[in-house]
């Protein structure tokens, strides 16, 4: 059995409205309690990537901030390498590599090497190893040529790579990446994720990564934690989500609009599928029956079919459906 590097149990965080005295210190808009996380539980093992997905305000950043010790949970707990992230935050902070969403977390007046050196010293990397380690990790993220370039002079993609190098240089066993590709172009993002997958495979580290980019989530093809309004609505691999939620979709094209309408009328009588005219001569059929069974239903119209194609539901639709179902379930629970 694999070791759970990150263990999250019944984690709940409610932000209470700011007391009156603290509103004098800094402006705040919260007047009602905000339930940022409710009863979240899941594990991440060595060599696994867990993608945290969810719309804005789903609780992704709150989860990461709890894991990095910046926020204390209201109830529940989380451990990293067996250390409680709240009570033993000092220890967990030496175990994790953290890449925040904001590139302002870099010292932009410092060079790439100086940024890594500062972080390396705070992480207790012995001075004798530090220079070698800086060269090694700058090479890993393809920033060797920018070793002595200051942060301000780097592109968004280079800054993201430098942040990744910083998160890795002390050889953490758990990596927490908050929207690491948020500011990078698609090609740069792809390269960064390729690199990440390579590192995870080689170093056997556990990774938590949040992302809005659906193509990234698909390409990582690992565990997904789908958050919505602070609740975990799905936990598991993408394939299991697809198995539960994907209803096969078949696009059938006909030689004329009249033929398509006739076929639509036939399918309307069937309880096994639901069809709609997506173009004058095309029907889109969502069904749990096979293509063969569908062709059997359309037996009288077969001579008019010019093409037939099965397509998978996009991840966007899949997530949307899951979120909608969770919302309905929540409303029903409240009723």
């Amino acid at each position: 059995m694999k070791n759970a590097k990150v263990l999250i149990r019944n984690l709940t965080k409610t932000y209470e409205p700011a007391p009156l005295w603290s509103r004098f210190l800094v402006r705040t808009s919260s007047k009602e309690p905000i339930h940022a996380l409710t009863d979240i539980s899941f594990d991440v093992n060595s060599g696994e990537i867990c993608v945290i997905v969810g719309p804005n305000g789903a609780g992704k950043s709150t989860l990461f901030r709890i894991l990095t010790g910046l926020i204390t949970p209201t109830s529940g707990y989380a451990t990293i390498e067996g250390f409680d992230v709240t009570q033993e935050s000092f220890h967990t902070r030496s175990t994790i590599g953290f890449m925040p969403a904001d590139d302002r977390s870099l010292w932009l007046r410092l060079t790439c090497a100086e940024n890594l050196a500062f972080h390396g010293r705070l992480q207790s990397i012995p001075e004798k190893q530090l220079e070698k380690r800086i060269r090694e990790y700058l090479a890993l993220v393809d920033l060797e040529h920018a070793t002595h370039r200051v942060g301000f002079a780097l592109s968004a993609g280079m800054r993201a790579r430098l942040q990744l190098a910083r998160a890795l240089i002390h050889r953490p066993t758990v990596l927490i990446l908050d929207e690491p590709t948020g500011t990078i172009d698609p090609v740069g993002a792809y390269q960064l994720l390729q690199l990440l997958q390579k590192i995870v495979k080689e170093e056997e580290i556990a990774v938590l990564i949040s992302s809005h980019r659906l193509e990234e989530i698909e390409s990582l093809d690992d565990n997904v934690a789908l958050l919505d309004k602070g609740r975990l609505v799905h936990w598991g691999d993408l394939a299991s989500l697809r198995r539960i939620w994907t209803v096969p979709r078949i696009d059938a094209s006909f030689d004329s609009a009249t033929a398509a309408e006739a076929a639509l009328a036939t399918l309307a009588l069937s309880t096994d599928c639901s069809a709609q005219q997506s173009a004058p001569d095309t029907l889109t059929v969502t069904t749990k029956v096979s293509v063969g069974a569908l062709l059997h239903l359309l037996h009288d119209h077969q001579s008019h079919i010019t093409s037939i194609q099965e397509s998978q539901m996009s991840l966007r639709e899949l997530i949307n459906q899951k979120l909608q179902a969770a919302e309905i379930e929540r409303q029903e629970t409240h009723l």
Binding site: G69, S94, F98, S105, A117, L122, Q123, H170
Partner: protein, 287 residues
Amino acid sequence: MTSPRIPVLSSAHRIFVLSRAFLRIGIIEVISYPMGFVTNQLASFGTIVLFYFVSGFVDKGGAFSGDAGAKVGYDYFTFVAIGYASVRFLAAGLKDLSIQFQNAIQAGYFEMLLVEPIHWHFLPVGLVQWPTLQAASMGTLTFALSITMGASYAFSGIPSAILLLALGVLATLAIGILASSIKILSKRSDPIATIYQMAATTFGAVVVPVEHFPEQVRWISYLLPHTYTISGLRRVLMPQGDQLTGPTVSESIFALTAFCLILYPIAFWMFGRSLSYARKAGLLGGY
């Protein structure tokens, strides 16, 4: 359970490594803006030139002759130069620490510092190191400049002066840490530092002796580490310092030590409470 990695280095060595890391960051930050650094320092030297002319004016007017003269050691320029140079030293723990905290919060790297495996109580100490070194060198240069302009010092008092300055910097740093605990929550406003700074500038015996203030407000002066540092320094550095009024050297050392012993536990307790509240309310890292 995997053992934590921190104990790889011994505590003393780790403190040394962390101090050096913060010191390097401070130096790099300063050399990143060379013109800003130079103009800031020149501006501070301008003040001592101003006091040179003010003291000339005051001496000619006879404002500090007779009894009043005894209160400033019959040398107003040296008296005020010590006051001003001391303020430069003491600014490190208070004003400069506050600026460092605000820069870290506003620039965005404060959150990253909090995620590093360092005790959070070390942060103000780490952040204030370069400003302290800078303030010490500027204070020393201010003393040197004042000598070229006619100030006279008893060099035998230098060891005692170093002790007084060290205690003064430590005491004001405690107030700075107290102020930082508010800054963590307020992000910008800094009531403790602002009020203290105002009180120290007015009642800290920088330009006039404490006895010059009305008796009703003199107690404010005696609540300020500035007063004891500056008074003690004047006693040990001015040739006629033994004739000055105000706290003696031993009184100053005792008062500054007492300030440190009382203020540090309160400051670190407040800092810890502030961090705990910020973690609970989700305020850490915001700006």
